[in-house]
C-alpha cells in the first residue's frame, strides 16, 4: 500500500513535470476552471440573496453541501483524469503497455494523468467549505469534522467510480457515451442543493444507483442537525464507506471489461 503510494508519487512527479513545461496552459486551465465554478457560485449566492432560504435551508447550510460536493468532484477530476481520456489509450492500442507492467491497470491509468488544471474547482470548493464550517462553528476537532472530511473522500471515490465505468465502456465500443458526463456534472449540480428539494426519481437515483447522496446530503443533515434524516443515524456516519464501496464495485466491473480489450492490429 505504502509502496504503491510511492510509485504513484513517482508517476505524478513525471506527469507534473510534463504539465509544468506548459505552465501557461495550466494557469489558463485553472483560471478557466475557477471562472466556471465561480459563475455557479454566484448563481447560488444570487438565489439566496433573493429568497433568503430554500425550503428552510440557509445559505451557510447549503454552502456546506456545495463545498463538499465540489471538493469531492475536484479531487476525483485531479486524480481520475486518466479515465476520462481513456478511450484514446484503447483506440491507439497504448493500453498494451499498461498491461505489460506488473501493476494494476486502473492504478496506472490514474497515475499516468494528474490534472493540475482542475485546482480551480478545488480552491473554490475549499473556500466555500471553510466558510460553511466556520459559519456553523464546525471548524474544530471533533467527530463532525472527521465525518465531513471522510464523506468528501467517499464522494471523490463515487465520482471516480463513475469515471471508471465511463472508461470501461471503451473496452466494448468505440462510441463515447455522454451518459456518464451527464451523471457526473448533473450529479454535482444536483448535489449542490439539498437532495430533499428534488423529486423521488432523482433522489433515489443519487442514493441507490450512484450514491452521491452520501457525499454530502446524508452526512450533512446529521452534522447540521437538520430534520431531513435519512435512515438510521449510524448509516449517516458510515457515509464515507458507501463511496468507497461503490468505487470498489466499479473497479470489479473494470476488471471484467479489461478482459475484452482487443488491442490493435499493428
Amino acid at each position: 500500500m505504502l509502496e504503491s503510494l510511492r510509485v504513484y508519487g513517482c508517476y505524478v512527479a513525471v506527469a507534473l513535470r510534463g504539465q509544468l513545461q506548459y505552465r501557461g496552459s495550466v494557469v489558463m486551465g485553472a483560471l478557466g476552471n475557477l471562472m466556471v465554478t465561480g459563475v455557479e457560485l454566484f448563481g447560488l449566492w444570487a438565489l439566496f440573496d433573493r429568497f433568503g432560504q430554500i425550503q428552510g435551508w440557509t445559505l451557510a447550510e447549503v454552502a456546506l453541501l456545495y463545498g463538499m460536493a465540489n471538493v469531492s468532484l475536484a479531487l476525483a477530476e485531479i486524480v481520475g483524469r486518466g479515465f476520462r481520456v481513456f478511450d484514446q489509450l484503447v483506440k491507439s492500442g497504448d493500453f498494451d503497455r499498461l498491461l505489460l507492467r506488473p501493476r494494476g491497470t486502473a492504478f496506472q491509468v490514474a497515475a499516468q494523468h494528474f490534472e493540475l488544471a482542475r485546482v480551480g474547482r478545488l480552491i473554490q470548493g475549499l473556500a466555500v467549505l471553510v466558510y460553511a464550517l466556520v459559519a456553523q462553528g464546525l471548524l474544530r476537532p471533533g467527530a463532525e469534522l472527521v465525518l465531513v472530511v471522510g464523506s468528501i473522500v467517499g464522494g471523490a471515490c463515487t465520482f471516480m467510480g463513475v469515471f471508471v465505468l465511463q472508461a470501461t465502456v471503451a473496452f466494448f465500443t468505440i462510441e463515447s457515451l455522454e451518459l456518464f458526463a451527464i451523471i457526473t456534472y448533473g450529479g454535482v449540480e444536483t448535489a449542490q442543493y439539498p437532495l430533499s428539494i428534488y423529486g423521488d426519481g432523482l433522489r433515489r437515483f443519487f442514493t441507490w444507483v450512484v450514491p452521491l447522496a452520501f457525499a454530502n446530503f446524508v452526512p450533512g443533515v446529521v452534522v447540521l442537525g437538520r430534520p431531513e434524516r435519512f435512515g438510521p443515524e449510524w448509516l449517516a456516519w458510515a457515509s464515507p464507506l458507501v463511496g468507497v464501496g461503490f468505487f470498489w464495485v466499479c473497479l470489479r466491473v473494470w476488471r471484467v471489461g479489461e478482459r475484452y480489450y482487443r488491442s490493435t492490429g499493428s
Binding site: V14, G18, G93, D96, L99, P102, S263
Partner: protein, 341 residues
C-alpha cells in the same frame, strides 16, 4: 522443462466493416456488417527453457497476436496457454513481472522523459532493488551502447537508439523469458548486428529463453536453432532450420566451375542453372551424400572450383509461404509437427 505450453490456441477478431461512400456510411449507422478474422486458428507449440525460437510467417499470419496472448495482453477465445506455469491473463501481474517484451513497432518508454528517467520509473514499477538495478543497468548500457543517449528524451531518439533502449527497458528486471516482436525492424546494418549479437549472448550466457518474431531472415539464420512457422493462424512448420529446408524441398546446392564448356547432368542431382562454365545443381543430402556426389563429379569432369551451400533462407521461406497460399485457406492443413529436432 517447458517454459511455454500452447495448445489449440484460438483468437478471432470481429471487425466492423465500413461500406464505401456516403450511402455506405449511412447504412452503417443502421446496420453494421461484421467480418470475423481468425487470427489464431488452433496454434500449438512448446518452448523449453533456454531455447531461442524464431517465430515467422507472412504479414497477418498471427505472430503478434500470439505474442500478445503469451504476454497477457489479449485473452484468447479458446485453447490452453501456460507460461512459466501461469496462465498469463489470469495472473497477469505475477506473469508480466517475470517476462520481458519488446514490440519493435511501439515503444514501452515514456515519450517525454529522458531515457534514464524511464528506466528509473520502471525500477520502481518492477520493484527492482537499487543495488541490483545499478549493476544491471551498467551492464545493459554497455552491451547495447546507449550510454550517450541516456539523458535524451525518448521522442528525440533515432529508431535504432530507441529500439536498443527498449531492449534495456525490457531486461531491467532480469526476466528469464523475452519476447521480441520485430526488434530489428527499420534498423540499419550495424544496429541490427548489435541487437542480434546482444540477443545471442543473452541466450548463450544467461540462458534467457527468447521468442523472436521477425521478417528478417538473417536474424533467423544468425540466431535461431529452431523455427516455428505460422500461417493463417496455424503452425505450418516447427523444427530446426534444416528441417525447414527439407520441408520446403529446396535441398542443398552444389556449385561447380568447370574447366571446359561441357555437359554436366548427374542422375541424382537437378540442374538449377547454367551460365557458361558455372553449373548450379540441387540435390537431396539425405538420399545423395554430398561427399559422394562431389567425388563423382570431380572424377568424371575437369573441375576448377566447387562449393556446396544451403539455399538462402529467403528462398525457403518464400517457398513455404507460397506453398501455404497455394493450398488455400479452406483446405485442411497437415498436422503441425511438434518435434524440435
Amino acid at each position: 522443462m517447458a517454459q511455454i505450453v500452447v495448445e489449440d490456441l484460438r483468437k478471432r477478431f470481429v471487425v466492423a466493416e465500413r461500406r464505401a461512400g456516403m450511402l455506405g456510411a449511412l447504412a452503417g449507422v443502421v446496420r453494421r456488417r461484421h467480418r470475423v478474422v481468425e487470427a489464431l486458428a488452433g496454434v500449438g507449440f512448446r518452448v523449453d527453457e533456454g531455447e531461442l525460437v524464431g517465430y515467422i510467417g507472412p504479414n497477418g499470419a498471427g505472430k503478434s497476436t500470439t505474442v500478445k496472448v503469451l504476454a497477457g495482453i489479449l485473452v484468447p477465445d479458446g485453447g490452453r496457454c501456460e507460461v512459466q506455469g501461469r496462465v498469463p491473463w489470469l495472473e497477469r501481474v505475477e506473469h508480466v513481472a517475470r517476462i520481458g517484451v519488446v514490440f519493435g513497432q511501439r515503444t514501452q518508454l515514456w515519450w517525454d522523459l529522458p531515457v534514464v528517467e524511464s528506466f528509473e520509473l520502471l525500477r520502481e514499477i518492477y520493484r527492482v532493488d537499487r543495488q541490483q538495478y545499478r549493476v544491471r543497468l551498467d551492464a545493459l548500457v554497455n552491451a547495447l551502447d546507449v550510454g550517450a543517449v541516456l539523458d535524451v528524451p525518448v521522442r528525440q531518439l533515432s529508431l535504432g537508439q530507441r529500439m536498443r533502449c527498449d531492449v534495456v527497458a525490457a531486461l531491467l528486471h532480469a526476466p528469464q523469458l523475452l519476447f521480441l516482436d520485430e526488434p530489428t525492424i527499420g534498423l540499419d546494418a550495424p544496429a541490427k548486428l548489435a541487437v542480434r549479437e546482444f540477443v545471442r549472448r543473452l541466450n548463450r550466457e544467461r540462458g534467457t529463453t527468447v521468442i523472436l518474431t521477425t521478417h528478417d531472415m538473417d536474424d533467423i539464420e544468425a540466431l535461431c536453432s529452431r523455427v516455428v512457422v505460422i500461417d493463417h493462424g496455424r503452425i505450418s512448420c516447427d523444427g530446426s532450420l534444416d528441417h525447414l529446408r527439407e520441408r520446403a524441398g529446396v535441398g542443398r546446392r552444389i556449385i561447380v566451375d568447370l574447366e571446359r564448356d561441357e555437359p554436366l547432368a548427374p542422375t541424382d542431382a537437378r540442374v538449377v542453372s547454367r551460365e557458361g562454365t558455372r553449373v548450379v545443381l540441387a540435390f537431396d543430402p539425405v538420399r545423395t551424400p554430398a561427399a559422394a556426389l562431389v567425388a563423382r563429379i570431380t572424377r568424371e569432369h575437369a573441375v576448377r572450383d566447387l562449393f556446396v551451400e544451403n539455399p538462402p533462407i529467403e528462398e525457403i521461406v518464400a517457398r513455404l509461404y507460397g506453398e501455404a497460399d497455394a493450398r488455400g485457406e479452406a483446405e485442411p492443413r497437415p498436422e503441425p509437427r511438434e518435434d524440435p529436432s
